[in-house]
């Protein structure tokens, strides 16, 4: 049992004893911790919130509930100040622990041994009690002399007992080791102030007014020493003055040499003990700061008090004094300005790492080499992404307008560079990662229009990055918009990037997807009939698949003639050259021929379409050739191709060349052509025995064409070419 509880006399029947072993009963420990934490919270809530504040009320209610729960099974909650901490329900909590720290720092300086909470307590009452204790502690710090600490005005549901002075000067009626100071067998006295040194009734002290005064002064000094040890160490004199002066000077006339019988003192107090008390009072009155001397004084006082009070109380009483004395040399002096800040313990827990370990931990962090990449650019890139994110979330008109202005601001920044472009590409790729709906396209336009307007050199590279980010199956979603920009004209700084983009775009088999042309038709380039010189710039077969689609679009009339000249100049295939020369110029009816030529590209082996269309075109061209044009240079090649291509009407054409006469006798065709025709005729073979020209010529299988035909050139900054279009 706590030594304080031995001496505490509270109202009401005795409470059940509580276990003193902290090692048992985790549930009890938990409950005790909850009580202390509730008290702790009540102690702090008033610091920052006025009583009417919502948080104040909420915390108060919660803490009150905890206290009531603890009180439900008990007749009171006692918080004891024990060595090095607090004890509740027999559970100990160190002074530095989270649960006990704050309350300990309140009880310890005030010398409170017990804080009792009685049933029916409210949070307001408890807070009022804490306020009183706090005020007394404040007064303690401001005190310049020993003073009596009176704890008054506490509500009836909260009581305290000072620890310092549980001594009872025995009277003959007291049983050894304690008991009722009033004698008898009725048990403990009911007045807790009975043990208060300032209030101990005279009948409990040694007889004799001087001795009583001496004893009171001694007790007062001891009490003061416990509570303000620092001051006591620095003072040159105490309230008792030096020997021979003040209230501590009773010895010479007091108990020192008088017999118990002569002075009427109780026989059970040895005279030498009483003498020691007097001496101690005098000596303590002249306390100096010599720890050794004070140690002796403490030892004497201990001996004296041992005879009069509980040993455990004495131990606790003087242990503090001893500790303060022994640590005086390394005690922390008050810091500058401590008149406002009281000396108190560092509330923080012990550090988990030494300073060196902490520095080492930071040094061990993996940090990328080099300085942080342009932070402004990264911020712009991040903000750009956020713009897109907001636009995707059904924003209101104000937000839309704000985002639009922000995008313009970011894109138009003169520092617009790599990170921002990547951010833009990422956003656009996210848009085209699925079939874009109207909303997505609106977002795209909000991003793209300022790019076209303010950063034209970035349009192409951003498109390239978009295409690289897109999965192959999704690239078709971006095709129309990319082609639109190509037609509108792109400004490139890096030609390899241009080639890389054209290669990506060319991979899409747009001619097989009518929807792509449909979308392209809705975009400005085709609507305005604009053809950028880009389309004819790259080497074949780049963009041929695009031209293949375009020649079948509303742009064909405008595109056809330059395309005819362009293809003729490129001479991508001998047959294509002959066909183009045979056609002489672009004619809308020959669109399929151009598509076939574009499809053929630069492949050596002929596509089936080229075989068919080439044969038909050349046959028709020969059959319809006016007599004056029979010396055209392309005719000889055409005749030879007829023999290879073996179209249906090839024999008619060849026969005509061989047999046609003018003026009934003269050959109508030049000899060279007649010879070529005869050769071709022979190569056609017997009727019915003609095998498929495609088979004989080994026409190219477009379905299984080489996927690397549109691979990005080295130096365009791309990784390995992506998989073939699906």
């Amino acid at each position: 049992m706590s030594p304080f509880e031995l001496n505490h006399r509270a109202a009401g029947p005795p409470r059940p004893a509580e276990p003193d072993d902290p090692a048992v009963d985790p549930a009890c420990h938990r409950e005790a911790a909850e009580v202390l934490l509730a008290v702790d919270r009540l102690m702090t809530v008033g610091t920052y919130y006025e009583p009417g504040h919502a948080k104040y009320r909420a915390v108060s209610r919660e803490c009150e509930a905890v206290l009531h729960a603890a009180l439900a099974a008990r007749q009171g909650v006692t918080i004891s100040l024990v060595e090095g901490g607090l004890a509740v329900f027999g559970q100990r909590f160190p002074a530095g622990s989270r649960e006990a720290r704050r309350l300990y720092s309140l009880m310890d300086p005030l010398g409170l041994g017990l804080l009792e909470i009685h049933p029916g307590v409210t949070a307001d009452e408890f807070l009022a009690a804490l306020a009183i204790l706090q005020e007394r502690r404040n007064a303690l710090a401001a005190a310049t002399d020993f003073e009596e600490i009176r704890i008054q005005g506490l509500p009836t549901t909260v009581s305290v007992v000072t620890r310092g002075l549980f001594m009872r000067t025995r009277n003959p009626d007291l049983p050894p080791g304690g008991g009722s100071p009033t004698g008898g067998a009725e048990g403990p006295a009911t007045d807790p102030t009975a043990m208060d040194p300032h209030l101990i009734p005279a009948e409990l002290l040694v007889q004799g007014a001087d001795l009583q005064k001496c004893e009171r002064e001694f007790l007062k000094i001891v009490d003061g020493l416990v509570k303000t040890p620092a001051r006591s160490l620095n003072r040159g004199g105490g309230p008792g003055g030096g020997p021979g002066g003040g209230p501590g000077t009773g010895p010479s006339s007091g108990p020192g040499g008088d017999s118990a019988a002569n002075t009427g003192k109780p026989a059970w107090i040895p005279p030498e003990i009483l003498g020691s008390i007097s001496e101690i009072v005098a000596a303590l009155g002249g306390t100096n700061s010599d720890p050794l001397v004070f140690e002796h004084l403490i030892a004497h006082a201990r001996e004296a008090l041992k005879a009069t009070a509980d040993a455990a109380v004495v131990d606790l009483l003087f242990e503090n004094m001893r500790r303060e004395v022994m640590t005086q040399g390394s005690a922390r002096p008050q810091l500058v300005g401590a008149s406002r800040a009281r000396k108190r313990r560092n509330p923080e827990p012990v550090f988990t790492m030494t300073a060196a370990e902490l520095a080492g931990a930071f040094a061990g962090l993996e940090i990328p080499a080099g300085p942080l990449e342009n932070p402004a650019a990264l911020d712009r890139a991040g903000a750009l992404g956020l713009c897109v994110l907001q636009l995707q979330g059904e924003p209101g008109p104000d937000l839309i307008e704000g985002v639009r202005l922000t995008i313009n601001r970011i894109v138009g920044d003169k520092g617009f560079g790599g990170p921002e472009r990547s951010a833009l590409a990422a956003a656009v790729a996210a848009i085209f990662s699925r079939e874009p709906d109207e909303a997505a396209l609106t977002v795209f336009e909000m991003l793209w229009e300022p790019l076209r307007t303010m950063q034209p050199h970035a349009v192409g590279p951003v498109w390239l990055e978009v295409w690289r980010r897109l999965k192959p199956a999704h690239r078709r979603h971006a095709w129309p918009y990319t082609v639109n920009d190509i037609l509108l004209g792109l400004a490139w700084r890096n030609p390899l990037e241009a080639l890389a983009l054209y290669g990506q775009v060319s991979r899409v088999r747009a001619s097989e997807d009518a929807r792509l042309l449909y979308v392209l038709e809705s975009l400005p380039a085709l609507k305005e009939g604009r053809i950028g010189k880009e389309v004819f710039a790259p080497p074949p077969p780049l963009l041929f698949p695009v031209l293949q689609v375009l020649i079948g679009s509303s742009l064909s009339a405008k595109l056809g003639p330059p395309l005819h000249d362009h293809l003729l100049k490129l001479q991508t295939h001998p047959l294509a050259v002959v066909m183009l020369e045979a056609a002489t110029e672009y004619h809308p009816g020959n669109r399929v021929v151009y598509q076939a030529i574009l499809e053929q590209g630069v492949r050596e082996k002929l596509t089936p379409r080229m075989v068919e269309l080439g044969g038909r075109l050349l046959t028709l061209a020969i059959l319809r050739l006016p007599p004056g044009s029979r010396t055209e240079p392309w005719l000889a090649d055409a005749v030879r191709w007829l023999g290879k291509l073996a179209p249906r009407d090839a024999t008619d054409a060849l026969n005509r060349i061989v047999t046609e006469k003018k003026l009934f006798v003269m050959p109508a065709w030049p000899k060279e052509l007649r010879l070529a025709a005869e050769q071709a005729w022979l190569s056609l073979g017997e009727e019915g025995g003609r095998s498929s020209a495609a088979d004989r010529l080994g026409a190219y299988d477009v379905e299984n064409e080489d996927p690397d035909i549109f691979a990005e050139p080295v130096g365009s900054g791309s990784p390995a070419a992506p998989a073939q279009e699906g």
């Binding site: 702090t44 919130y49 006025e50 500058v336 902490l358 932070p375």
Partner: protein
């Protein structure tokens, strides 16, 4: 008790701000008035005085002849009110009612033209029904002794407006001299962050230039060795600490940005981003923001939405700098990809947001809050390094290197028993440059006798004990 007075001033100033936001009978305004009345009565009871006077001089609050740092920073609207009323302070007298205080708030919120004289101000108060608040005359800076008719004596029973320098808590005079020129800057910043909240709550346009101007001024005025003045403040309520948090974030962010080598114009944007990073909280219900206990999932979702709300507000302006937008959005995003708001991978992470993330956590750990005591920088660093995945390692390391274990202004005790203040963090985290102000024998040194000790060179000395300015400020008022 000094803290009670400063709390009152900050709360009164906060009441004016609340009134700017709402109207007289709004529950929050009334609650603020009620809270002040209760505290005021408590103060009077504690002190036994009949009133509470605070003066205003040179744009700062003064009480008992000492400038009050915290209220001066947080109470600019009250200082401005005094200027418009041509008065040098206010006396609040016993009997002050809630309605009178509401009227005072209203004056502070709506008065936009100065009155001609102190008498006119007094008449105005009477007309407004404010009978227990008296505007005080200006302090006359003369050599007249305290109590003379030339001093701005308000009430014979109360403290005289007296400018004698006396022993005080807080930094020593030598450091106070360093802090004083910075006060107007931090007043401006505090006022800016306050105004951000008002504008955001009212769906008004945010004055972004105000924040950028303040940020630019901050960048030009502080360096890594400047004392963290905002850590001197005590906040009596949530509103004031939310604002103070934004201001302190600005100083920390600029310090870190400097350490990263960012140029001045980016530091300016970083400071503005810090002041605006929590602007979205103006739209979060107070019941959730103020809730003392754990939030439910739904409440947490609402609370976390402040990041997106703030970013959206800034986007809607159309003229916000990208760094500010990105900072508002991403200051709770973790470096390892977690955090909020949910952000697609394709959106580039913002360096400004990463700096704010680091500073936000550090600020929260090391600042005094109504619900917790401040931690030392060292403890804060321990906690942060324990969750290193949350932070950009380069930025976290820079914070550690620039702030150090002993930030400027912290009180230290050296191993020889002498005491003083950290002047510079120093290259070595644990060995700062210290201004010794107290000798080992406990004797306070005169200003001219104070001296610097560089622990990086004085290897026989080390820091034996440490208290940051926040720790000191908080621990003084433990209950």
């Amino acid at each position: 008790m000094a803290s009670r007075f400063s709390d009152l001033i900050i709360l009164i100033s906060g009441g004016i701000n609340q009134r700017r936001l709402y109207f007289d009978d709004h529950p929050r305004v009334r609650e603020q008035a009620r809270a002040i009345i209760l505290r005021f009565e408590d103060v009077l009871q504690q002190t036994g005085e009949t009133g509470f006077f605070f003066g205003i001089h040179k744009g700062k609050f003064v009480r008992n002849g000492k400038f009050m740092v915290g209220p001066s920073i947080a109470g600019r609207n009250l200082i401005e009110l005094a200027r418009q009323l041509a008065c040098g302070g206010f006396l609040l007298r016993r009997g002050l009612t809630e309605d009178e205080l509401l009227a005072f708030f209203r004056l502070g919120a709506v008065l936009n033209a100065p009155v001609n004289s102190l008498q006119a101000a007094k008449d105005l108060f009477l007309r407004e029904g404010i009978g227990h608040i008296d505007p005080a005359p200006h302090f006359q800076e003369t050599a007249a002794p305290a109590g003379s008719h030339e001093a701005a004596t308000i009430d014979p029973g109360l403290i005289t407006f007296d400018f004698e320098d006396g022993p005080a808590g807080g930094p020593p005079p030598s450091l106070q001299k360093e802090l004083e020129p910075l006060l107007p800057l931090f007043q401006t910043m505090f006022s800016a962050v306050e105004s951000n909240t008002v504008e955001a709550a009212r769906d008004q346009s945010l004055d972004l230039d105000r924040n950028l101007d303040a940020g630019q001024e901050l960048v030009g005025r502080i360096d890594p060795q400047t004392i963290d003045i905002m850590n001197l403040m005590r906040y009596p309520d949530y509103d004031s600490f939310t604002v103070g948090h934004g201001v302190r974030m600005a100083t920390l962010s600029v310090t870190v940005g400097r350490g990263l080598g960012w140029p001045a114009h980016l530091l300016t944007e970083l400071a503005a981003a810090a002041m605006l990073h929590d602007v979205g909280k103006a739209k979060i219900p107070a019941d959730i923001l103020y809730k003392p206990g754990a939030l439910t999932d739904e409440e947490r979702r609402v609370a976390e939405s402040h990041a997106e709300i703030g970013a959206r507000m800034l986007l809607a302006q159309g003229c916000a700098r990208p760094a500010i937008i990105a900072g508002a959005w991403g200051h709770h995003l973790r470096h390892d990809g977690a955090g909020y708001p949910v952000t697609p991978d394709w959106i580039r992470r913002s360096p400004t947001a990463a700096v704010l993330k680091v500073c936000d956590v550090f600020e929260a750990l090391t600042a005094a809050r109504p619900y917790k005591a401040p931690l030392s920088p060292r403890r804060a660093f321990e906690i942060m390094i324990g969750d290193a995945g949350a932070f950009d390692p380069r930025i976290l390391t820079t914070l550690f290197a620039t702030i150090g274990l002993h930030p400027p202004g912290s009180r230290v005790e050296l191993s020889d028993g002498s005491r003083g203040y950290v002047r510079e963090s120093g290259r070595n985290q644990d060995r700062p440059l210290v201004l010794v102000t107290t000798a080992p024998d406990g004797r306070d040194l005169e200003i001219n006798d104070q001296f610097l000790v560089d622990l990086a060179e004085e290897t026989n000395l080390e820091v034996a004990d440490f208290q940051s300015v926040a720790m000191e400020s908080c621990m003084a008022e433990d209950f």
